[in-house]
Symmetry: C2
């Protein structure tokens, strides 16, 4: 509880900082391997000519994701959490001292792949985006309710695999809406590009 | 640290209990949606005529998995962790008071879907089995090293989807072996049944 209230205090400071700089900050959360990094790579390539984009990457180990992001054209900083299971507001605060995010930019924070713990830790983001892939099963919202309750947008990714898996898009949306009636949904395949335009439009609407 | 040392103490008690009753206990860990429950359903249907099998199911919410398991023929008890991100030794100890596991049985513990936190919590199991699916990306071992370091067997599941995803089995095994040279591997598709015999043989060998 003490940890959470200390985190919430620092998250508000981050939120104020982003507001002051008119930075749109999105906290991307998901299971491991749902495709967050691929979504960000494609998004950066598409939007970097028109927008300033920065990325904070969270993983237990390795700088692989930050390297992938930088190759797609946006500055990225990697936070390694070691045995830790989530990013927290203080890690973001410290990262912002190392990477100068420009005014009016979009800042993507890719959280540690974990549908549980990151739900409890506000980072000061404007919107939380939960990514699930159609290979994970359509009952995930019911089984990990906190994440779906605390998110603003749910991306259902890897739709190119729908013919090969037992996943009902309707059931997944129904279960998630029961937990969070305001949750928005975008279906996409970051691999094929299908549905990505809906995501770009959603991003524009947040600015 | 205090939480972990208290957990380790209780885990040893569970281990003694299983040893006393000659129960083979396996702690099944993975990301959400890697197919643990489907693997258990198929395994129970295959082995229940020759073995006594019991299951402890962990999820944040719902009793869906315990219901699926019971339909396949084994007694199951569901633990809901609420906002918690892992099972711990005390939850297992308490579950064993509610469900009488017979001597010489196999007990499967299906942990909360999370590649991070369950790595830190010994439940008193004899072997830890980490399940990954080929849809998750072959770099998962490097990014979540603690789980792969602490596991005995790695099941690579959903091999029926290999033609449709970018996943190198060789790379995944190589990365995981760098972390844990003793880790064993079984490739399977629980959906099609392909490779399941290797898993049944592995189970027999543990008894």
């Amino acid at each position: 509880m003490d940890i959470l209230s200390e985190n919430n205090r620092l998250a508000e400071r981050n939120r104020g900082y982003f507001e002051g700089k008119q930075v749109l900050t999105l906290n991307m959360v998901s299971s491991p391997g749902s495709g967050k990094t691929t979504i960000l790579e494609k998004t950066i390539r598409q939007l970097i000519s028109a927008h300033k984009i920065f990325v904070i990457e969270g993983d237990q180990q390795t700088t692989r994701d930050a390297e992938r992001i930088e190759k797609s054209g946006a500055p990225a900083i990697q936070i390694n959490t070691g045995s830790g299971c989530h990013l927290d507001a203080k890690m973001i605060h410290n990262a912002l001292k190392k990477m100068e995010v420009e005014n009016d930019a979009i800042l993507f924070i890719e959280n540690v792949g974990n549908l549980v713990c990151p739900a409890m830790f506000d980072l000061g983001e404007q919107k939380r985006v939960v990514v699930i892939s159609v290979t994970e099963g359509d009952d995930k919202p019911m089984k990990y309710p906190y994440m779906f309750q605390s998110s603003n947008l749910c991306i259902i990714n890897k739709t190119d695999l729908l013919p090969y898996v037992d996943f009902s898009v309707e059931s997944a949306i129904k279960y998630a809406r029961e937990l969070n009636p305001n949750l928005e949904f975008i279906l996409m395949s970051a691999k094929t590009g299908d549905g990505m335009q809906g995501w770009y439009d959603w991003l524009e609407k947040q600015r």
